[in-house]
Amino acid sequence: MQTKPRLLTVLDIVTVVMLLAATWMVFFYAPTEAVMGDVQRVFYFHVAAGWVGMLSFLVAAVAGVIYLIRGDRKWDTVGLSAVEIGIVFAFINIVTGSIWARPIWNTWWTWDPRLTTATVMELIYLAYLMLRQGIEDPDRRARFGAVYAIVGFLSVPLTFFSARLFRTIHPVVIGANAPGAEGQFDMTPLMLQTFLFSLLTFTFIFVDLLWHRIRVGRLADKVEQLRLKTIQ
């Protein structure tokens, strides 16, 4: 039985309090957007979830590089954990974007460059999990996973910059919107505060979940080693 570090318990509590505060800010602190109405409130957690998705994939790529240099399996666990969390949050990002798009763009989905690259990014990391499932040897699996996470990371900057480089209807928060962008709005100071606090909150959620997922990964390794020892 693993003992839970005290710092992790503190992080759990801080994260839950921050999530409650961010939720309160989204619904009661930030004003209702003048044109889009309440659905604009989805924006705060939609962008924050996208941020966590991209951050996770960055962590997985960095963990992959460190694994290839050092060959320490704990970095493989970090990479796998980060990818798993990234997939969850990128999924939230895509689905909430689709829900927002229905009343604003009058469609659930369009093959716009940003939506397409985000979907491709999600599929690339789902394939990472499938690749790992297909390799039995743990060292080979870790090596292939590391290389895949590094190469797969190319999809992240492509997704981020797609709304800035290509002709798109997807609005952007940082930088100038494309001429055809629909659904952009000017953030008031209260909206900006809510947005920044949501980003910070989701960063805490990421760190907290990553720590928990790494613990599960280490436990799985321990069980696997003991199982092999018992069989022999």
Binding site: R41, T96, R213, K222
Partner: protein, 53 residues
């Protein structure tokens, strides 16, 4: 939406969006908890088997 004098009524979509956000996060948390619990159970059994008689 060009000449509207009040925000569009899009509350249902907002509720759907936040249901997805909290629903997916909750499912992931439950999956983490279940995996940890099952692994701890496996570990206990394997440690018992591994003990010298």
């Amino acid at each position: 939406m060009l000449f509207q004098d009040a925000p569009a009524n899009t509350t249902t979509y907002m509720i759907a969006g936040y249901a997805v956000i909290f629903g997916v996060m909750l499912i992931y948390l439950i999956s983490l908890y279940l995996r940890q619990r099952n692994l701890n159970q496996d570990l206990e059994v394997l440690e018992e088997l591994d003990e010298p008689e």
